[in-house]
């Protein structure tokens, strides 16, 4: 199946369109909120919340006996919130470290959820089949109303994000200071956390309890590599998330029955990999290239400043000197000399070199840090 054919199919085929749209929206909202989780160094929080949602799903099923996904997700939301606030409680009321609290709640809730799940599966109730899709997700079961729910929640989330942008930003950067300015930090904190829980719950059906936190963290971690502005980071993370959803769905649809959730997560992981290598300012590749370039520049600059000190002793700075006196100097090679000439820092003429005005100026400013401050 080629690309144009697939794209046509996305627009005409109901199931494919629903899944593509659903995973794209999900990826976008997770990327947006994941940025906050990453910047608060609460990467584990997403994992804990999604695992904490499992008992809610099973209990909701046990009580209602129905498999309506909205009711099950409501259960997930409730137990996710309970788990989150227990974590907060444990951290603020005891001396346990936050990772201990997160790990504790994660395994306790997940264990309990699994217990209930196996209990349900042993029952003769025919309805129970497929409840385990919440473990690893099953995008194929998405219907239009699910996508609508996602779209509505995402819009509300976006609205709140824009409304309280300033408050979110300052809380993320410096919570104590925010408090002294008179902001109710608890309220802002609860607002952020609640939306993270909402996003996670929305993704359970598609990506599942186990992989959900990757959906939250991967796009944000990748986005962080490309920018030094919070706003840009949130936008890039949302885009990465949305593309992970679209590409992931495409790959799994064209490769016959590859499970969608894991594929989406792998695509998101791929974005992370690319970002960590190729990002211009923080990526490994350009860091290495910059390092090599800097080392080369250093030799050039050393030679230039050596020439500068010679030229300085003359009244006329452009007075020619013989190339021979450079021979003892470490950084000097024919190549560096030629490069300096190419940059018009020196002029060469039969065995002599002389500094140009420009070269003199550059050399005298070489170690002046202030120069490159205005980038």
């Amino acid at each position: 199946m080629d690309v144009t054919e697939y794209i046509k199919l996305v627009f005409t085929d109901y199931t494919l369109r629903t899944i593509t749209l659903g995973t794209a929206i999900l990826g976008a909202v997770c990327g947006m909120l994941g940025s906050f989780a990453v910047l608060r160094k609460q990467s584990l929080l997403g994992d804990a919340i999604s695992h904490a949602a499992l008992p809610g799903i099973t209990i909701a099923f046990l009580i209602t006996g129905a498999k309506d996904s909205n009711i099950l997700l409501l259960g997930a939301l409730l137990s996710g919130l309970v788990g989150t606030f227990w974590i907060r409680g444990i951290i603020s009321k005891t001396h346990l470290k936050s990772d201990t609290a997160l790990g504790l709640i994660l395994s306790l809730f997940f264990g309990f959820g699994m217990l209930l799940l196996t209990f349900i599966q042993k029952q003769p109730n025919a309805n129970q089949a497929g409840l385990d899709k919440y473990l690893f997700g099953q995008a194929a079961t998405l219907v239009e109303s699910d996508v609508w729910l996602m779209a509505i929640v995402t819009s509300i989330c976006l609205f709140v994000l824009l409304l309280f942008w300033k408050e979110f930003k300052i809380l993320l950067f410096d919570a104590d200071y925010t408090k002294t300015l008179g902001f109710n930090t608890k309220f802002i904190d609860i607002l952020i956390t609640t939306f993270i829980v909402l996003a996670i719950v929305l993704g359970l059906q598609t990506v599942g309890v186990v992989l959900m936190s990757a959906m939250l963290l991967a796009p944000a971690a990748a986005a962080r590599q490309w920018t030094n502005r919070l706003g840009t980071m949130v936008i890039i993370a949302a885009l990465f998330g949305a593309f992970s959803g679209v590409f992931g769905t495409a790959i799994s649809a064209s490769q016959n029955n590859l499970s969608t959730g894991p594929v989406i997560v792998i695509v998101a992981g791929f974005f992370v990999l690319i970002s960590f290598i190729f990002s211009p300012s923080r990526g490994l590749l350009f860091k290495q290239i910059r390092f090599i370039k800097n080392r080369r520049d250093l030799q050039l600059h050393k030679t230039l400043s050596f020439m500068y000190h010679i030229a300085e002793t003359h009244e006329d700075i452009t007075h020619p000197h013989t190339i021979k006196i450079l021979n003892n100097f470490q950084g000097y090679t024919k190549g560096t000399l030629q490069k300096l000439a190419d940059k018009h820092y020196v002029t060469l003429s039969d065995g002599n070199w002389s500094l140009t005005e420009e070269g003199f100026k550059t050399a005298s400013n070489l170690y002046n840090q202030q120069n490159d401050n205005n980038e």
């Binding site: 001396h95 409304l163 309280f164 300033k166 950067f173 925010t178 002294t180 008179g182």
Partner: protein, 253 residues
């Protein structure tokens, strides 16, 4: 000279702390602190590591909840007077890799007066630029904050507090890790604030510069040892009470 300009009796009390006791776990790290800081002083809080200096500032500012005690600013509860108070936290208290610029951080100083939801505009930006100028960081305004040196980060924090245009400034070790020139630049800014009638409270570690920089001092080590004008109470007796018998050795180092 300006020490004489502020007779204790004439000045108003800017900050008043009553019976403040604070504990993180079981054992209080601050015991029964009573403190009156007159308006217009430049005061140092001195004491050994772990004496509770940061804790004192944080409890005054409501960041920590004390077990007991109260704080008033110009005779009113602190909660009502927040807008009069600015805070410079210890530099290590935030993640400097946060994706934002120097100018952006300084702008945060205007958020308090803006209140909820309203975004900073041209007026706030202008104020922030002026503060950056004052601390000599204007050329760095567009820099990502992780690419600033420790002393530069410290000056950004100072600028953020200056933007608040407060009456009372609390600063937790603003001289930490800054070079001699920057230290003088900062102290000159603080002295300027005092000249403008503001009250400045600074956690300070270098005992040798206390008489030169400050006109008021509080000795703290879990309990309040002493508080008053530097010229009256900055003596061996109080230093020994605060730092223990060996403080002279540590000064000579």
């Amino acid at each position: 000279m300006d020490k004489k300009k502020i007779p204790v009796s004439a000045g108003r009390i800017a900050v008043k702390v009553d019976d403040l006791t604070v504990a993180y776990n079981y054992k209080p790290v601050l015991w029964d602190i009573d403190l009156e800081i007159p308006e217009g002083v430049l005061m140092a809080i001195v004491g050994p590591n772990g004496a509770g200096k940061s804790t004192l500032i944080k409890s005054i500012l409501g960041i920590l909840k004390p077990i007991a005690g109260s704080v008033s600013i110009y005779n009113q509860p602190y909660e009502k007077q927040r807008s009069l108070v600015a805070y410079v936290p210890q530099k290590g208290s935030v993640d400097w890799d946060f994706p934002t610029t120097a100018l952006d951080v300084v702008m945060m100083g205007t958020y308090g007066s803006l209140g909820w939801i309203k975004r900073p505009g041209q007026k706030e930006k202008k104020a922030a630029l002026e503060a950056l100028e004052k601390v000599g960081m204007l050329p760095f305004k567009g820099r990502q904050i992780s690419q600033l040196s420790g002393g530069q980060q410290q000056r950004i924090f100072l600028a953020r507090a200056l933007v608040q245009n407060a009456s009372i400034y609390f600063m937790d070790e603003p001289f930490q890790g800054v070079d001699a020139t920057t230290e003088i630049a900062i102290i000159n800014i603080l002295k300027e604030l005092r000249k403008a009638g503001k009250t400045v409270i600074v956690v300070h570690h270098d005992l040798q510069t206390v008489p030169e920089y400050f006109d008021w001092v509080t000795f703290l080590n879990v309990k309040k040892i002493a508080t008053g004008p530097v010229k009256d109470i900055f003596n061996d007796d109080n230093l020994t009470k605060t730092y223990g018998i060996n403080y002279k050795v540590s000064i000579q180092e």
